[in-house]
Subunit: 410 residues, 2 copies
């Protein structure tokens, strides 16, 4: 009976549009940071939808919102994502995972009745790191990884502590430790791909094998400031020319490695930054990602050797400051199998893939068997008002999610 | 008798150090913008030195300060430079030209008596363009190139008009047109090289053939903003990678052209400028200089063709915004000959050279036979507290200047 399970594209569209009104700006784009009035209003709306579906609604000590369908045991299969957004974000990043989870659990409740394991929909809080630089705050609460002093030490750009921000939406920050959940048997997160692989290949589903590893550092080149008119080319030690050479060559190294290796040089600073002065200082960020830890480390060494060699050739100095080093995280084989079986049951094409972006799942997977399902992002757009997933793709994703949850919970 | 003319290094050192105290900052470096109290105090000091030398002292309508040695005719040979500085500039840029002129005219007055043509030392005002963006303001006053409306329209960073700033140092801005000088037969400017050619080659004198031409434009590359984790390398249109490629390749084109062609990519802007976003927009300034106009124009075309080609290869767009296009200016052959003859009379090595930097002489040369004499900059440093010319090089320069002025005025 469960392969007959249908979720209507129109239902997904209605949910996405309704939630997307919270924090929507007059010129387009959503501003819905954690613990803001817009975020609180969206949570309240979600809670009403959970209640309308007959789920037991509960908000935990850090602001994660749950809708629970009690099963024969208290052991729980959790599904969902987050509803906080980046500034001027879109309607889909995070939100679609929560709404698909709601639609899936509603369909299961209606068509399959009471599960064996309890089923729970969740809207996790502060995934985007866009207000407090408290990445995966909600998941950290669930896993017992929040430290008490963070409540007073984490501040937003206006200097408000996360503890005070929690109080402003009627949470009791001192209750943060009550968010811990020792009852989770599985976590399944549907998310938009945020890239263009599924869209370009016209494949409706991606089943994540690994969330990529990340190695971030700042490269700073020091040369010599000189007069742009009076210093012959052959006597210069131009920091930005050396930096440009480095940025190009490290990109070539990563391109030669091939997919899924990626490197980005996104943030630049060139000093003194005058038209008529040969720059003496230039820095650029390096964001290197690979799902295999040893390859990631090998590439990191190779990139720095490449830059050292260019620095020596050009008579400049170069230094590196590590910003973060996050290991890749494999998704649990059992959850991957459940997602693959569900896709096959629906007769849908899928591809196994790497998540190049970070997600709550990468932290959840350190303690709970976890899996991720991707649906296509039109033109690969994300973190933008242009973010879009067709209602058909959204509904297909929710159906496959429901079927996978059926495998796991019934 | 005039080849026996001697100016003591200690005298040059004393003058440089005394003038360098005006506007000197506690941590080093001089801040002496035009019409500031520090500039006014330096002008007053100079006027006293002019008077002590027996020169007739006069300030014109825009603030140029003159010390005149009357000759047999009213036709005038003018020599000097400027005393305004860039922020945190050094003691030599401009100032050494005024002080050498004073020392040279003093020596001539003492050893050669009354000249045929009148001889005049000048401290020109606002050469550096560092307060009002009124480049060569003093020279423009002398040549009748100031327009009345500029007095109200040119403002400094605090919003003060140049007219009000003139009043603050007791000038009458409405008298600006009285600065015009139809009596000039020659202008000779001694200046530090501001580069390292003379210093590296251990040649004490540079005789300028041409002040270089300048072509400045902003190159802006537009690609596509993408997620740094989810966008494979082969699907990116990274604006900063394209810009880095362009900046490197245009530099190679200019390097292949050889001296004296120079190009500088000094000012960069990369947007959105986040670690985890593939940049969609990148711009960099291009400052191209060559003393031959047709070569300058040919290079400008070649650089833009190079960037167009890279843009097409990389699937990004590129546009160019012209900022300035200044033609090269040849120094007058007669003045060059006088300087060469003077160097030879003193038995000093010299080299003919291009000025890569701009100077009052380039504008003065449009109306008055003009020449420039360079002395070495230690380590090529300029526009910096590290600016330095040895007292011996300064004195040799002043002696050669005096001898050249003797050729021209006696």
């Amino acid at each position: 009976v469960i392969t007959e399970l249908r979720i209507q594209p129109s239902e997904m569209q209605r949910l996405v549009e309704a939630l997307g009104r919270y924090g929507e700006q007059p010129g387009g784009g959503i501003v819905r940071p954690v613990y803001s009035p817009a975020w609180k209003a969206a949570q309240t709306q979600l809670g009403e939808w959970f209640a309308d579906t007959g789920l037991e609604v509960r908000e935990d000590g850090v602001g994660n919102l749950f809708g629970r369908l009690e099963g024969q045991t208290a052991r729980t299969v959790l599904t969902g994502s987050h509803i906080d957004t980046v500034p001027l974000g879109g309607r889909y990043d995070g939100a679609l995972g929560v709404l698909s989870a709601l639609a899936a659990v509603r369909a299961l409740k209606e068509q399959a009745g009471r599960p064996r394991r309890s089923l729970e929909v969740v809207a996790l809080c502060e995934e985007e790191d866009s207000r407090f630089h408290a990445n995966f705050w909600g998941t950290r609460g669930i896993l017992g990884l929040i430290r008490a002093e963070e409540l007073d030490h984490l501040v937003d750009d206006d200097g408000m502590t996360i503890g005070l921000a929690m109080r402003s939406v009627s949470l009791a920050p001192e209750q943060y430790h009550k968010a811990v959940r020792p009852d989770l048997d599985a976590f399944v997160e549907l998310h938009i791909e945020q890239g263009r692989i599924l869209y370009d290949e016209q494949v409706p589903l991606g089943i994540v094998e690994t969330i990529t590893g990340l190695y971030r550092y700042l490269t700073t080149v020091e040369g010599r400031t000189d007069h742009a008119g009076t210093t012959p080319m052959d006597l210069r030690r131009d920091a930005v020319q050396a930096a440009a050479h480095m940025a190009l060559d490290i990109t070539r190294v990563v391109e030669a490695e091939g997919r899924p290796a990626v490197v980005t040089t996104g943030k630049w600073d060139v000093q003194p930054g005058a038209w008529n002065i040969v720059p003496g200082l230039a820095s650029f960020s390096v964001d290197l990602r690979h799902p295999d830890e040893s390859t990631k480390q090998r590439l990191a060494v190779s990139l720095q050797q490449t830059c050292d060699r260019i620095a020596a050739q050009r008579g400049v100095s170069v230094r590196y400051e590590l910003a973060s080093d996050v290991q890749p995280m494999a998704m649990h084989p059992e959850i991957q199998r459940a997602l693959i079986a569900a896709a096959e049951a629906h007769g849908l094409a899928y591809r196994s893939m790497v998540s190049g972006a970070g997600h709550d799942s990468q932290l959840m997977a350190t303690r709970v068997p976890t899996g991720m399902l991707f649906v296509p992002s039109v033109d690969g757009r994300s973190h933008s008002p242009a973010e879009y997933t067709t209602p058909e793709d959204a509904a297909r994703g929710a159906e496959v999610l429901a079927t996978a949850l059926h495998h796991l919970a019934y």
